[in-house]
Symmetry: D2
Subunit: 335 residues, 4 copies
């Protein structure tokens, strides 16, 4: 079976395609024939060496496949079940308060899903939404769960709330879809009118081309008749935070879930406290969050938007597309 390994010092040219077959499952483990993964910024940081990992690490936090064998004592799954991964196998539910919970993310401190065959503890997997493909399922554990937690858990969006999503990456498109499923009014931003049209087709109610409106926070204020938005799903991080604080309503919510424009930067503290607004840092979610999200996806027939799928041995090409920022939605690996 094929697999991909990250070789020091990292870099897309340094990804190594090897052969490997996962061991038989021990007690509490399952062996899975993986059929798909999807690309996230976290995976990119691993494969190019921004986030250093052990030499030979198998990358990719997301995976979906079929159970091939179950170890002793496993009651959760049977051979043949379709399963998808958990970003935090150690975070069952509740508050993100335990260091251990973040210590074993697949594709980071332990091997991940860029492999056709894996054996992992049963907690590493959850159920796939019924009727969805492996590629669709593989888009969910990191990007969709992050968006879900912002919209449905932290900001707890209700019908009529206004939500701003930034650009057309995986998290933003899922945030748009979940916000619409929750009955919200969605304002989408992008630098491309063509992408804005696609966001509109997915349900965006109002559009802002931020090349035309550099101070898009003011534009959100204008579009909301001076009130501002209830939630800004902030994926840019430090570079866009001042605009998000301008865009949010009194008592509103900014979900800080990405650092695309910088790991640190200026934050207008006075504006934030005058608005009585909340910034909540979000790193994906728990297994309970994932179960709720899967139910929401099934109930509302939400279809993950996949830009393109690559075979496993073209993983470097897949990351180059991600790097180019030309994609819309998720990029997948299918194998």
């Amino acid at each position: 079976m094929k697999q991909v390994q990250v070789k020091k010092p990292g870099g897309l040219d340094n990804l190594l395609l090897t052969e490997g077959e996962a061991r038989d499952p021990g007690p509490g483990e399952i062996k899975v024939r993986v059929h798909a993964s999807s690309l996230n910024f976290h995976d990119y940081a691993v494969v190019v060496g921004l986030l250093p990992v052990d030499d030979g690490r198998i990358p990719m936090s997301d995976g979906a496949g079929v159970v091939e064998a179950v170890g002793a004592g496993v009651t959760e799954f049977a051979v043949g079940d379709h399963v998808m991964s958990h970003f935090f196998p150690a975070w069952q539910d509740g508050r993100a308060d335990c260091a251990a919970k973040v210590g074993s993310v697949p594709g980071d401190m332990i091997d991940g899903f860029a492999a056709e065959s894996v054996t992992m503890p049963v907690a590493a997997f959850g159920k796939m939404p019924r009727g969805y493909s492996f590629e669709q399922a593989a888009t969910l554990p990191c990007a969709a769960l992050t968006a879900w937690r912002a919209v449905a858990v932290e900001a707890r969006i209700k019908p009529g709330d206004t939500v701003v999503v930034q650009g057309s990456g995986g998290v933003s498109v899922f945030a748009l879809q979940f916000a619409k499923a929750a009955g919200a009014h969605v304002i989408a931003t992008s630098s491309s009118n063509e992408k804005l049209e696609r966001l509109q087709a997915l349900g965006a109610d109002q559009l802002i081309n931020y090349r035309e409106h550099e101070h898009w926070g003011d534009k959100v204020t204008e579009l909301t008749n001076g009130r501002g938005a209830d939630l800004i799903v902030e994926i840019g991080g430090s570079g866009t935070l001042p605009q998000s604080i301008q865009a949010v309503c009194m008592g509103g919510h900014i979900s800080l879930i990405g650092v695309l424009t910088g790991f640190s930067g200026d934050m207008p503290a006075a504006a934030l406290f005058q608005k009585n607004a909340v910034i909540s840092g979000i790193t994906v979610g728990s297994q309970a969050h994932q179960r709720d999200m899967v139910t929401a996806i099934e109930t509302n027939g939400i279809e993950p938007v996949i830009d393109r799928s690559f075979p496993l041995d073209e993983i470097a090409e897949a990351f180059r597309l991600q790097e180019s920022q030309q994609h819309f939605g998720k990029i997948c690996l299918a194998y």
Copy 2:
């Protein structure tokens, strides 16, 4: 201008049609030409004398109309504005913790909207949803706001949650509509297959005829694969509470918003605490809740379901239809 008054000791045959013109508005007041009202159980209790009021009281808590004149210092509304009533003019926002808040419900301890002309403090009114008729707006301040508070405020339903609504009265139909707008899976109950079909047309995902399933709580358990529902919008009160406790999931929510089947009755306390479930008593909502609901209605294009409208002088006929329980959705007065 026509108006209706309740004469002691109450009763549908004792409703008196009189003439009256509201006074000019004083400081902080507005004068409104009322064009519609809608019937609630609370109004029924007033007009038949279950809830005794002063002799000559003008009933009806709900009203919608056009501003005819504004008193000194009024900045919220201008002549010509379309307005609808607040059930609790003294409850602006926040916790229902002040006795004063419940002391001045129109059509109860003060005069209400069964009158073509009224003059009231500005706090008695809020904005109508844009593009909606007076009759549609008049269905909202009591029934819809009660349903909104159950679904969107207390249980804070998110996409994928399961909601049970009982029957086809005004509150239940609004609860169904709000739950669907919030992305929920809705199970509707009724004693009539014809009504169940109409509930399905409005979005209900699963149906239970409770004549066929007296223990409909067990049927909900079955339909949810043993899990139970996240929210039961309980309008029956004491008579149906045991089934609701059976139907609710672990850690779920029962919104107790009506007492149609009795003001008091048996409650299986042991079952409730084993389920770690919550029963929350709900009496309508605040002005802030109403603003949020109006935005949700506009955003999602929710159309109030009106069974039939009567002219003001046929108010007794309107209440007889309500009494018959044959209606589906709301009954209105239009004038």
Copy 3:
């Protein structure tokens, strides 16, 4: 090592003292020399046969002791650590939404702590508060955690809130102590002036002898100048619920955590919904709740109130004292 077993059909005269030594711990298990347990209504229901269990079951959900041996892969504890039990070993954190969580309560569907030697999965245990005795620790996993969840989790009591506690059983005394630690004003009820004095010594601010005030709900209303209490810790269940609904403030909270006066009974639904109050059913809590509680106990130096301790072979005497309702606080077994 000594242990106690429940023999069919149950009953205090049917408790059997036997000898038994727990097996060596397997992977993920620890072996504990138990030194103390404490009595709860749940245990009483088991030993007298109200809650039927398998023949030979070792009862008692609460236990505290010293780790004697650890199995392979156990990193949470080392030999010599002082540990106390978890009521729900399968409930780590978050919502009580999984049937599995309530399926393996020690002393009920699996063997419990009426034994000097036990071997259980590591999840069955948590840390004891530093500086506390085994008997003190053994009072915490069921009664204290129930009180903690009512006060600190569900009602989330803040300084200045008013809390009503009923009687002087284990849960009520802990609720009083936690409410005082949270800065609340506490009203205690009892049928005995002597017990009321002891509750006052523990911090109760106002006292009601409910033999003198059968309608103690009205007395609470009077003592709070008509406002009512923010939280009623309801341990009586159906028999006292009507008084609790009378006693609670608008928008207040009733924690339903016991059914001493009946498993089912009359509930004045109309009063509940007019008050916009909440009844939340509570069955103990999660491991995360227990960690928080242990920290709160350490931080505030809260001392569990122990009425009397019995040796393990006098377990029937211990339950007879509990049955008599003459105790104040907790009854322990020490061995």
Copy 4:
């Protein structure tokens, strides 16, 4: 009656002492003989011209005094009642979502309490805690309510939580007192060992001299055995935010309530989102928050810490003491 006015362009030497008697109260107004005020950073910004106001404005947002006369329709207060001010007379309760709520802060866009005689709408006042002096009450409406909202409303601190307070200004000392009343463990920071001793005497459990520990966030991590604090009451703003993010626990809370070290500055976004922590901007609170706080103060006998009181005509001296940062707790004006 004496009063103070701010003259353009502002500055402590430009404060003008004049004579003035408030008008008789109109409908819905009360006339109050003010006896005390207290100094906040907001007042300082007004009097020195950082926050420009109309020429002749009477400064000071906080006031306490005796009702001298009541206008028509006033039922809330009677002549002789002891009253204290509301920072936001237009914010009754609930979400801070209305621009109107922040538009009429006394001593800013309307006249404030640096006057022996004022006439204002009844909503500008609330009840004083029973048994407290005017000076004590005058410390509460801005500084104490801000601290209350951080501790008891936004972070909702429970017994055993760890709270970090910064320095010994008014908000920080109240935050310490409210956190202790709520059963929390408090870590206090200061640049002065003498002040740290006084903070300890007020209940602080652990102390950090941030001159000795410039990276006091690391010291908090160490003192909490690596876990971090549940709440950082952040009064420094941009300059101290990076340390606060270092100090907060996974899933913890930073209350951003001041900008002493800068209105804008660097924010380590990556650290925040990895911690799944929340920053909530806080500007004082509502009338409902103030009522709850007053009850908490009465219930727990919390004594406001007053550094020194000045007569009204020494207001410039009072602000010079505030400017020097040598004070501990609140500085008052008494007249």
